[in-house]
């Protein structure tokens, strides 16, 4: 049976590198706050009525103009208002130096010149609202961690509860680091994915700890060390992890393939959150549990001279 713990050093190095690089990028560049989270610009192209598919022609003309002046389509999102009579383009940076309002007006008017419709073009500077309530998020996370710790203290003893807590915190931090590395949108919705990442890590770790408990009760494992029991439990959980990741991949690929705009980013965010949390919980749960158990065992053997055995929980 292959041992997960034999590669512990590699997992730790990978995680430390990810955290270091990601947090540095977050510190230097900040998060990618997207169009809805930071000061930005929007272009408003409107017609007074949508006759003969005029709105589609207008939108195509506007988007062709954006491409012509070098504005890539991934840097803006489009919303339509008033039965498609108004197209609102939201940009995530200052495009006023690239955009010529008069030229845009010309292009759009030309696209529907026979319709007799009136076109209006305006460029607005936008101040978005502050959004994230950081203090409440930190408070909520603190309460979650304490509550889970207390519950698992009864169900899985100190070693189990610390292992689960550690993986949850590490998973959330690694997800934040990955936001810095991947530059995925970090709007208010990102908190949901961060929480989901910590939650998934907690769920997966709890499953492994539960399995460790069962393995300890198994008489066939009485001569195994803590490390070997933990490895065995982790290995038996491999299929669960693979199935979980495969399921998430299916949803995410569908969102990326079928969705537009932010929906695609959310699909990628879901993959990142799930991979990060699964990686952390799979590689660190057994490691932390074993480390705590061995530390307690060392303390016990210093006071008594009992031989090495696996105690039943």
């Amino acid at each position: 049976m292959k041992s997960v713990s034999s590669k512990n050093k590699i997992w730790i190095i990978i995680t430390v590198i990810l955290l270091a690089v990601g947090m540095t990028l977050v510190g230097v560049l900040g998060f990618n706050n997207t169009v809805d989270g930071k000061g930005s610009y929007e272009v408003n192209v409107s017609i007074d009525a949508n006759i003969d598919d005029a709105s589609s022609k207008v939108q195509k003309a506007a988007e062709d103009y954006f491409a012509e002046v070098g504005i890539k389509d991934r840097t803006y999102t489009r919303q339509v208002l008033n039965d498609d009579c108004i197209a609102l383009y939201k940009f995530d940076n200052d495009v006023t130096d690239k955009l010529d309002k008069d030229k845009l007006y010309e292009k759009v008017t030309l696209a529907i010149e026979d319709s007799g419709l009136i076109v209006e073009v305006s460029i607005n500077e936008v101040v978005p609202f502050g959004g994230v309530q950081s203090l409440w998020v930190i408070l909520a996370l603190g309460i979650i961690l304490v509550a889970i710790f207390i519950y698992l203290l009864f169900m899985a003893k100190l070693s189990g509860s610390v292992a689960v807590l550690f993986t949850m915190v590490l998973s959330a931090l690694t997800y934040i680091a990955m936001l810095g590395i991947t530059r995925l949108p970090a709007n208010g919705f990102a908190i949901t994915f961060g929480l989901a990442s910590a939650l998934i890590a907690g769920i997966q770790s709890t499953g492994i700890i539960g399995r460790i408990k069962e393995e300890l009760k198994n008489e066939g494992n009485s001569k195994l060390s803590y490390k070997e029991v933990a490895d065995k439990a982790t290995y038996h959980s491999t299929l669960r992890f693979c199935l979980f990741l495969a399921s998430v991949l299916v949803i995410s690929v569908l969102l990326i393939a079928l969705g537009t705009g932010y929906l695609r980013f959310y699909g990628i965010s879901l993959i990142v959150a799930s991979v990060v949390s699964s990686f952390i919980s799979y590689t660190f749960t057994a490691f932390i549990w074993t480390a705590i158990k061995n530390t307690k065992k060392d303390k016990k053997s210093k006071t008594t001279s009992t031989p090495e055995t696996v105690e039943e929980q």
């Binding site: 006023t96 309460i143 208010g188 939650l199 769920i203 199935l243 399921s247 998430v248 705009g261 932010y262």
Partner: protein, 444 residues
């Protein structure tokens, strides 16, 4: 369970499930109306469905806005207080000009959205005026530090007429400041040598909400004063304005433009998300059958029940609007349900590998799987509960749908899948093969 009984029960279950599936997903006309299925009755939020966009210019008689972010923070607090979870608040002005910012609010188009936006944009800060004259003009207390909260209260007077009131609860600072002002006034005398009375007047913006009323240190025993409102809607609006802090600038609601707006996640976001979730459920069921054979069928039936129960609960529980974050909650809960079934079948197969009978293996398998599933459900439930009570917006939406899903997935894993196992197994000849007996020490 005997074969005959199992066949009867399974038939009943199949009929019930078929009916539930039909009601959940089918759409058809009934007379002049349409039945849009239970799925169609789910209320989706602004980010998936679009809604209304309100753009309000600053009123001509308003002061110049010094801090537009403060305005938006107040608007956001009011939208949260009114229960809106998915919305966008922005200040915008023509690029390159230094004029005032207009405010644009994009949110779900509910039946009450017009009045809610009017409430959200209601102008006025609370000001307290106190003094020894019958029309005090001296402003006392700082609104931000003085008010702890405000609630709308309705009731009936002695004659049976409905009354509408708004309570204003002071903080310790506000209460003490008011009490000190009253006592100071009571310590002075008027030109006739009589002890002065203290009058308190409360204004909200330009409107007097409590006329100058005499108040003494003896009568001010509570930290709460009550003001009358004309109606329930004005009372609720007043209470919200007081609770969330004043909007210091007046916006021109009469010249506000209101448009329908598409979903910020894309025009077809809702359809795409529904397809993605539906496809996931189908693929998960196929994968379960492929990997776990007979038990995969049981797991798939359980997943089907889970899906229908989840959709049903999203409709049955009042005031739920499902945003993209809510969809993520549903997805995670589905994964929890699948995870629970994987845990169970693994335990059952291990029991079979230890040469136990099928009946004993199933019983022990479910018994062994109970606590791992319970632990996972409790951990998930804690996250959902804390997220619901302490967080707002998208995360709260996630917490609601995920919390409902956790409860349903627990019931699915512990009860429904067990029920299907008990009903289907008696009908199978090769029960060990059906459950996919695992060889001892087989590495999966």
């Amino acid at each position: 369970m005997k074969k005959g009984k199992a066949i009867t029960l399974l038939s009943i279950l199949c009929v019930l499930m078929a009916a539930a599936l039909f009601l959940t997903f089918a759409r058809f006309p009934i007379g002049v109306k349409n039945y849009n299925s239970i799925l169609g009755a789910i209320q989706f939020d602004y980010d998936l469905k679009g809604g209304s966009a309100y753009t309000m210019p600053l009123a001509k008689d308003s002061e110049e806005v010094e801090d537009v972010e403060e305005v938006m923070n107040t608007i956001e607090a009011r939208l949260d207080a009114l229960g809106y979870k998915s919305y966008s608040v922005k200040a915008l002005r023509t690029a390159g000009e230094d004029g005032n910012y207009d405010i644009r609010i994009e949110t779900l188009a509910t039946p009450s959205v017009d009045s809610d936006i009017a409430t959200v944009m209601a102008y006025g800060t609370v000001k307290f005026f106190g003094g020894t004259t019958e029309d005090p003009t001296t402003e006392i207390m700082n609104e931000e530090k003085s008010i702890a909260g405000s609630e709308y209260i309705s009731g009936y007077d002695a004659d049976g007429n409905e009354i509408h009131q708004v309570s204003i609860e002071f903080t310790d600072y506000g209460y003490n400041a008011l009490l000190d002002a009253i006592k100071e006034a009571e310590g002075t005398t008027n030109e006739n040598g009589e002890a002065n009375s203290y009058y308190l007047k409360i204004m909200l913006g330009d409107t007097t909400i409590m006329n100058a009323s005499q108040i003494t240190s003896d009568t001010l025993t509570e930290k709460t004063v009550y003001v009358n409102a004309q109606s329930e809607s004005s009372g609720k609006q007043m209470s919200l304005q007081i609770k969330t802090g004043g909007l210091a600038y007046k916006y021109d609601m009469e010249n506000a433009t209101v448009y329908e707006i598409s979903a910020p996640l894309g025009d077809k976001a809702l359809l795409m998300v529904q397809i993605a979730v539906g496809a996931f459920i189908v693929i998960a069921m196929a994968a379960l059958i492929a990997m776990y054979r007979g038990y995969g069928i049981i797991a798939s039936l359980s997943m089907l029940c889970f899906t229908m129960l989840e959709i049903g609960m999203l409709v049955a529980v009042p005031n739920i609007t499902v945003s993209m974050a809510g969809i993520v909650g549903v997805m995670l809960a589905s994964l929890l349900a699948v995870d629970g079934m994987v845990i169970t079948i693994k335990r059952i197969r291990e029991e079979l590998a230890n040469k136990k009978t099928v009946k004993v293996s199933v019983k022990n398998g479910y018994k062994r799987a109970f606590f791992p599933i319970l632990n996972i459900s409790v951990v998930s439930g804690i996250v959902a509960l804390v997220g619901f009570f302490f967080l707002k917006g998208a995360v709260q939406s996630f917490a609601i749908t995920f919390g409902i899903g956790v409860v349903i997935s627990f019931i699915t894993n512990v009860l429904l899948s067990r029920m299907f196992t008990e009903v289907i197994l008696p009908l199978v000849k090769n029960k060990e093969g059906f459950l996919g007996e695992q060889k001892k020490e087989e590495i999966e």
